[in-house]
Symmetry: C2
Subunit: 287 residues, 2 copies
């Protein structure tokens, strides 16, 4: 169910994701405001009808009037922001986020908030290799997955509201996972894939490779164009879980390596058949 049109939504952090949330919601007629670091981002977003108004300061009036606040900040910046400004959030406000790691922030944020303010965490599985509100694109949510990440402290109503926000934004599949399950899933599906792409680009310094490449290399390394500040923080915030997933992957890679080295065609083909069968489930459904 889409969220009630009367809800006032404040976005904190008007980057690519925060900007895309704002753009989608404003387009649909919601009242959307923003607090972000740069006045230029506020100006751009107001000029382009992405938000109704915004501030480059922590504007108490914008916080007070908001029914839902979406935090789209780096993990440690999110925690710092709540430590400094959490007391300004008024009771009955629901806060949510887009943070890529959960266990290391969700419990802490929930413990820092004033009574009556509920934090329900979420992870929109969408992104682009660009940044900034200038690249905001609400089309990125179409057919994408959205994960609601509640703890014992969350009420059923708020879990539902958070799913409704995902639905309003246009996500196709809304799932619910605990912070621990989320972090394991994301270590495999997202962080490990970025590790692989970065390693592959770092592995070879031959010149002119781009003249000979096909689409497989291009697709596989699309995400090797990476925001090093954000992703090093995400990797290190989920270190033990990520290392476990990297181990599992390396075992499979080593097995394939040994099959090639031993000329074991049957084992090679068996792995390829398993891979093909599993991959079929991942094709994006057409809407």
């Amino acid at each position: 169910m889409k969220i009630d049109k009367s809800k006032k939504i404040l976005i904190v952090g008007l980057g690519l994701l925060g900007g895309s949330y704002a753009k989608s919601l404003t387009k649909q007629g919601y009242y959307v405001t923003a607090i972000t670091l740069e006045q230029a981002s506020v100006d751009y977003a107001v000029e382009h009808n992405i938000i109704t108004k915004g501030s480059a300061f922590v504007d108490e009036a914008l916080i007070a009037e908001a029914d839902i606040i979406v935090f789209a900040l780096y993990p440690h910046v999110f925690v710092e922001w709540i430590k400094e400004n959490g007391h300004l959030i008024t009771p009955k406000t629901v806060i949510t986020d887009v943070t890529g790691v959960k266990e290391c922030i969700v419990y802490e944020i929930q413990s820092l908030l004033p009574d009556g303010v509920e934090f329900i965490s979420a992870h929109p599985m969408a992104g682009r290799e660009t940044s900034g509100v200038e690249n905001a694109d609400d089309g990125m949510f179409k057919n994408a997955n959205y994960i609601v990440v509640p703890t014992e402290k969350n009420s059923l109503d708020t879990i539902e509201l958070c799913g409704d926000l995902g639905e309003t934004l246009g996500f196709r599949e809304i799932s619910v996972l605990s912070p621990e399950k989320h972090d394991q899933m994301i270590a495999f599906l997202s962080q490990l894939t970025h590790c692989i792409a970065v390693s592959l680009m770092c592995a070879c310094d031959a010149p002119d490779l781009e003249r000979y490449t096909g689409d497989s290399f291009r697709d596989l390394t699309r995400i090797a164009n990476i925001n090093d500040e954000m992703w090093s923080e995400l990797f290190l915030s989920n270190k033990q879980t990520l290392l476990q997933e990297m181990d599992k992957y390396r075992n499979a890679f080593d097995k394939l390596y040994d099959s090639i080295n031993n000329g074991n065609r049957e084992e090679l083909r068996r792995m390829m058949q398993l891979s093909t069968a599993r991959r079929k489930k991942f094709n994006k459904k057409k809407s």
Copy 2:
């Protein structure tokens, strides 16, 4: 320069690639015929104006009238075909191919051919996760790379003709590499990427992963849907070179692993910055 419209072109092996060559050339007004295993493929291709005529037998008349023969077969099938039927090819015919490995076939094929028949090898860097002439799609060549792979035995005229065929098919960038250089390049750019995608899909059997995934995992594993018969042959035909490239990649992956394990944020960021800088060169140029 596009090849002369009077040239008669025979495709041997009317699968996805052979069919796409035929479709593109017929559309442009060339006289295109085919020899392939299945009568159903011939029938489909004639009905859909992909070829003028074809045969499910080794039709000597089709071979005799051809000016250019394109072999689109598995490596060992290509070699067997030439051993059995190479004597039927008439002098002044130029033969070329689309085979994904070169060193293990090019010299042998050249030594098997009758006098006056020249084999100039080529590798179109295009493909799809489908097969068969029913999926033929000449759009796959647009903006793609095409590698001409000559040896000392090739004449300049034939090397040029082979590049002209690539240009006629619509490839954007035509390069020339020796068989050895080609195989090294392809081990890194194509075979290693397929090894990575297969290993990743084999590494985790958690259910419902597709409900939580984002585009990075989808893009990285697109090629995990793989023809196990063809790719196991390609891997094993290029074994030593592929193992070397797998070693290089594994070293980079291990370095990233150690950086995470040691909490070495600076090294992590350095690798990500290198990866980002290198990846920028691979963006497909818009035509």
